[in-house]
Amino acid sequence: MNRKIGVLAIQGAFYEHIQMLRELGTEVIEIRQKKHLLNNHFDGLIIPGGESTVMGKLLRELDMLAELKKLIDNGLPVFGTCAGLILLAKNITNDKDKHLAAMDISVKRNAYGRQLGSFQGNYDFKHIGRIPMVFIRAPYIESIGVGTEVLAVVDNNIVAARQNNILVTSFHPELTGDLSVHKYFLDLI
């Protein structure tokens, strides 16, 4: 199936996602401005890793936040990694700011501490199996709401989940050579 995926490209590691989508034979468009949201049709959206404070601020300043939220609330399939997960969460336990607030999860930012707490390993992902996971100053999910499916747990912390059209991981599949999570996302569309 020929699907077109938008990748939010305002800051962070968006190029890595674009490369993975291209490897999977998917058409990609970069979303940098409001007009890119309004004037294009796309079947799904990826919100990459980066700094959530920067992306949250730019989404507001570029007048994209409300439009994006509307699309997601209306069912646009969206996949957020790391900062993307934070932007999608309805509650951030150690931050007063909320951004897209679309998914019933409570997340903790920088949950593993500073860069020395960053780590990687192979862990189980429901429906996929064991995959490499890279955590960079990562958040994790502290609690989930009704209708949210837990997809991966590492050291008793939830690191991947899905609620209807929204998929989130606190790790970075785009930094590994493993395409399985991206494929899983495309299969949800």
Binding site: G50, C82, Q115
Partner: protein, 290 residues
Amino acid sequence: MNNRYELNKNLAQMLKGGVIMDVTTPEQARIAQSAGACAVMALERIPADIRTAGGVSRMSDPKMIKSIQAAVTIPVMAKVRIGHFTEAQILEAIEIDYIDESEVLSPADDKYHIDKRAFQVPFVCGAKDLGEALRRISEGASMIRTKGEPGTGDVVQAVRHMRMINQQMRQLQNLRVDELYQAAKELQVPYDLVKFVHENGKLPVVNFAAGGIATPADAALMMQLGAQGVFVGSGIFKSGDPERRAQAIVKAVTNFNDAKILAELSEDLGEAMVGINEQEIEVLMALRGE
């Protein structure tokens, strides 16, 4: 190399498309974060003031760095003198997110850089040509930036360094495979890194622009020349309206290819830092550490 090196390169990937700002106080750090900085560089004096003050310039007081770590949630970087591995050990002990082995401070060693592979925390290093960039990477740097000429508000050196690195990479790409050994010898770098550049046309780590960036247009210029993000040192807190200028530079980096947006961002920013031309300066920091 090991997992830690990969993780450290990965953190730099997350900073891409962002602006790293020099700050000297927790208050400035908060301003930088709310203006959209993707990381801050904690230092006691910004480069322009280091230049004016003269004398020996060293690593900042760890207490001051910790107060900045406590003030923001974004990554905090700090500088050590070239070759001063003990300053680096101290910064690692306070869990800094990135160490800048920087020519802005007085070099502690005129021959050897820090063996960055001996550390768990990541390092960013300056380079003015491809040889320097690859030497720093072989020593364990997980991020590169142009040296530029810090504290001048003059972007000419950053432009020169970025163009030089990119030209030299294009030259390597065009060589025959059997010519790469000689290229490695001329660049004074390991063959494997030359081969990587030949095959991929880019550095194996993220490359930012730094030195003399003072306006949204400067930042966008560096992005169009191939930088993956920018460091802004004196340009923000030496200007008339730091918050406004910081925000404008952040947005200019995101939409560096859209001249209409850049025009809007360049309006009404107040006074830019005064700056000094390269012919007027006495100390060329970029020449520190080859």
